[in-house]
């Protein structure tokens, strides 16, 4: 491809691609009258444009358009189905987590926590502290008072 004048290249391209102002276009046309390299560059761009126009496809037929519409609807339906399946699984997971958390909460309220803290720094002190904690009795929360069973029925 022939090289146009470097300083004219942007304006030449803009003119060739219909992006130049009226004034610029006039100046480019005047320059082209005097400049053979720029004329040759424009000519090679024209040939390339003609070549590229061979790649212009025909409009899609009705059959192609209908097939694409049908396939798109199928794809949408699949997408909605997979999304709802995923949502269902997330829902189940959330329910399982809620049940698990509820269970932990009940367990925490039922069994009294081990009261107090101990200070230990050497391995021996830590060992003694652990033994001491393990020997503490486990205190249970008092159960709710039993309701008297009505008699005579």
């Amino acid at each position: 491809m022939n090289d146009p004048c470097k300083k004219w290249l942007p304006r030449l391209m803009a003119w060739f691609d219909d992006e130049a102002s009226e004034l610029d276009a006039k100046e480019v046309r005047a320059h082209l009258l005097d400049c053979a390299p720029c004329r040759a560059a424009v000519q090679s761009w024209r040939e390339l444009r003609l070549d590229l126009s061979l790649l212009q496809p025909d409009e899609p037929t009705e059959e192609v358009l209908e097939r694409m519409a049908w396939r798109f609807e199928e794809g949408l339906a699949d997408e909605i189905h997979s999304t709802s399946t995923a949502l269902r699984w997330w829902g189940r997971l959330a329910a399982a987590l809620m049940i698990g958390l509820g269970g932990l909460l009940i367990a925490e309220r039922t069994v009294m926590p081990l009261a107090g803290t101990v200070e230990a720094s050497t391995p021996r002190e830590i060992e003694e502290a652990v033994q001491e904690i393990l020997q503490r009795p486990v205190e249970l929360m008092p159960l709710a008072p039993e309701r008297p069973v009505p008699s005579g029925r």
Binding site: M1, L9, P10, M13, A14, D17, E19, S44, W45, L48, R49, D51, L52, S53, L54, L55, Q56, P57, E59, P60, V64, L65, R67, M68, A69, R71, F72, G75, L76, E79
Partner: protein, 211 residues
């Protein structure tokens, strides 16, 4: 105005509004598909995908549009946004599927025989009609050969040059619109178009010399 049965309670009104919004969204997507599917199909072909790949590409593009339509903020025209989604999707699609197994064959060009698709020989005979038909057939063959050559050259261009050239030369977009679609500066678009032209001319020349 008749009351809508969905509007009998607040809850009913909310669900009615939700359903109407869903219907409006679906209608909008449907309108977009009807207006642009043919154009995106054409864009896919111009970018070098074959017909089957172009159909697959259109489906991928519009499924992506359906997922992302909520992110459209109206800063650019809807068509520009849609073309941006399309270019990115088709580029990925092309990278995944095309050219992995389909080398360009120049045997048809080298043999000088047109690929007329039906394998029939060109008619020959002494009468004028046959001569005219021969001339037409030869001209069509020449155009067809040239288009194969140009397609092969375009396939050798890097995507950034190919996309800029296709949007400018085949889609007829302005530099500004191309910049928005490709999400780059206008100066970058101008540079890609110029360098794309230079490279395409070089590739065409080298292919012709190799034949």
């Amino acid at each position: 105005m008749q009351p809508n049965p969905d509007d009998r309670s607040d809850c009913g009104a909310a669900s009615g509004a939700g359903a109407r919004a869903n219907r409006a969204g679906a209608q909008r997507l449907d309108d977009l598909f009807r207006e642009y599917s043919g154009k995106i199909y054409g864009l896919a072909l111009r970018l070098g995908l074959d017909r089957q790949e172009a159909e697959d590409g259109v489906q991928e593009v519009f499924l992506k549009v359906q997922r992302r339509i909520g992110t459209f903020r109206g800063e650019a025209a809807l068509s520009t946004w849609l073309y941006r989604v399309a270019i990115n999707t088709l580029r990925d699609h092309r990278r995944k599927t095309v050219r992995q197994t389909r080398p360009v064959s120049f045997s048809l060009l080298a043999s000088g025989r047109p690929d007329d698709g039906d394998g029939s020989a060109s008619p020959s005979g002494p009468d004028f009609e046959d001569e005219r038909r021969d001339a037409q057939s030869a001209e069509m063959a020449e155009v067809h050969e040239r288009s194969i050559l140009v397609r092969a050259a375009m396939n050798q261009l890097s995507p950034k040059f190919r996309e800029a050239l296709v949007l400018r030369e085949l889609e007829g977009m302005t530099y500004r619109d191309i910049a928005r679609v490709l999400d780059v500066a206008q100066g970058t678009v101008e540079s890609r178009i110029h360098r794309g032209r230079v490279k395409l001319a070089q590739i065409l020349k080298s292919i012709q010399e190799a034949l």
